[in-house]
Symmetry: C2
Subunit: 377 residues, 2 copies
């Protein structure tokens, strides 16, 4: 982990321009190739995020499908560190997770790590991270997950189930390992050092509870891979199967950086933004346009560095033909940034209108989704 030529990527920090192919080599993961896509295609249509290489890397998903074919189904695990509002970049892997759930008809365990965010965020209270957890839950539910197959849980509220497994994990991880993987130093608090054990638990808990090997698949940003590399390393010694991973690239920032930064609200669109806020943010987005209309007409724009184009590519234009047309027109100088921004604003606002409605309805539905817990006070 850590810094190498060009870019840095850890679960807490991304800087520089990410070379995603290089990351596969650096992390030792596998590319999601044509053969794997063909295997997935047997169970349903191939998702746009797979076709476009947004979900582009994996660990052991072939092995999971081998088991699946033998009638040994897997379960999904994903999570969220509840330290603020949800933005579109958060939704992306969750939308994909729902696609995998629907395609393979498998359960999903959704971890809200209120303990993590408390430990890692200076000045944030446990009451605040818990409040955010319940707010963030509304966004998860609004995506349309099936409550019968989806189990959402907060770490602190389900700790009685999680802690014994976390202890087993923790006993297998030395400080050396944690430091090497996460870059800890002497000033890290001892909670942050322990924390990776908690993040590993959902990858093992179904096997623990059902007293048999139940494979776990974790869709996540490639930046989260280190947590689960540790989990994979300790799994055999604990008698659990190694979790499989499906990695996605990081959702683009409106300011043109590689990863959306939650700390700069103008570079990201929250699910609770108003149409006016969306319009303003998209209006100020970094594009691949030229300095003047004349130049743009003459030389064409550059969609590869354009945040507006990336938004379409990642989430808002699922129609490949339309996306190609947009790109071709831009490159040919036939399309100006204003038009793209207006169209994207409309698409986002249309999406958010429905999402915000479902999000409010979700307030009454939380109980349906909460993991049956030992919580009885």
């Amino acid at each position: 982990m850590g810094e190498k030529e060009g870019f840095t990527i850890t679960p807490w920090e991304v800087s520089g321009e990410i070379d995603y192919d290089e990351l596969i080599v650096r992390f030792g993961t596998s590319k999601i190739d044509e053969k794997l896509l063909e295997r997935i295609a047997r169970y349903g249509p191939i998702h746009t995020m797979l076709k476009r290489g947004i979900f582009y890397s994996h660990r052991d998903f072939n092995r999971v499908l081998d088991e699946y074919e033998k009638g040994n189904p897997f379960y999904l695990y994903t999570g969220r560190g509840p330290s603020g509002n949800i933005h579109l970049g958060h939704l992306m892997p969750w939308i994909f997770t729902k696609y995998i759930q629907d395609t393979f008809d498998v359960p999903l365990y959704f971890q809200l790590t209120d303990d993590e965010k408390f430990l890692f965020k200076e000045g944030m209270t446990l009451e605040e991270t818990k409040k955010y957890a319940y707010e963030n839950m509304l966004d998860i539910i609004a995506l349309g997950f099936d409550p019968k197959k989806t189990h959402i849980f907060l770490d602190t509220e389900n700790i009685e189930k999680l802690y014994p497994i976390a202890l087993k994990v923790a006993k297998k991880i030395t400080f050396s390992t944690a430091r090497a993987v996460f870059g800890f130093n002497n000033s890290n608090n001892i909670g942050t050092i322990f924390y990776t054990s908690m993040q590993a638990v959902p990858a093992f808990m179904v096997s623990e509870w059902e007293k048999k090997q139940v494979p776990c698949v974790i869709p996540c940003g490639i930046d989260q891979d280190p947590h689960f590399r540790v989990a994979r390393d300790v799994a055999p010694g604990l008698g659990y199967p190694k979790p499989s991973l499906l990695h996605c690239k990081l959702f683009p920032s409106l300011s043109g950086d590689d990863k959306m930064s939650s700390s700069s609200p103008m570079s990201t669109i929250y699910t609770t933004d108003t149409p006016k806020q969306v319009k303003k943010k998209v209006g100020q987005a970094f594009t691949g346009g030229r300095v003047s209309v004349e130049e743009q007409r003459k030389l064409g724009g550059n969609p590869d560095i354009c945040a507006v184009y990336q938004y379409n590519y990642y989430l808002f234009e699922e129609d490949d033909a339309k996306l190609k047309k947009m790109r071709d027109e831009c490159v040919a100088g036939e399309r100006l940034c204003g038009q793209c921004k207006m169209e994207l604003t409309e698409k986002i606002n249309r999406f958010l209108e429905g999402h915000q409605e479902r999000r409010e309805e979700a307030r009454e539905r939380i109980e349906e989704f909460l993991m049956k817990s030992v919580n009885c006070h």
Copy 2:
């Protein structure tokens, strides 16, 4: 912490001959002096362990008594790491804890750290430490604690109440601090590094639950002081009162070493030992006797290095006059080791007979003592 001239003392290791007065200086604690004993005497008789300087050091107990006098009572907290059977050395501070409870009529919270022992003991499972916790509980109950004022709990079974407070503690302790206090190195597992947070929780939890400053008093072996020094350091930042401590010297080993070693069964007497085992162990104990009866008659013995005399001093001869007589006779060569060993064997077996009976009766009484928990499965 760690090694200095002559001896080493940490919560996990004691070696060399302990200079207890030097420890007061090294740790920065206060001697339990005549003035403090006079204050305690206002509430009841002075316990033999206080008179004899077995409980000999404290932190802030005067401040606790100031509050007590103003009508702000404290509570007691002590604990046990359940990794094996209970020996007489374990009982000693618990007997003293009961004396403080009875004298001041205060509640006691008794923590069984099944998580700690799992994390620190290679090859020990969580199931084993939990089993020991329930076995050890019988010894606690057998000492005659009042169930209405005594709340025993296992960490793993009450983690839902403990974890949020442990997180708050952990956030205040850096790896540097933990390493400096406990001597951790890179090969320590990350659970052991986090663990001190869990041990601090009972010192704060009553204040947390009652939403006011409730002083906590912790009677414990002086070797356990580092855990609570950390707890004391973080207390003000969390809005809790600093816990007060009452420190005792370490119970002697039958083999003449400073601290009983649980790993050498012949040097320690377990509460479950048979009369025959006790006779054998005391028979083989290290004494201050001479190489022959003639020498002993001529030169006298040395009670100060004698394990049999120390057993009487620490636990089995509460009558000061009788103890002095025993000592004088020994030094004068009027008393031989055989007599002392026979008398001690009888005293221990008489004690164990009653203890073992109450210990078996305790199996039916566990529920009365368990802390009202969130445990509902």
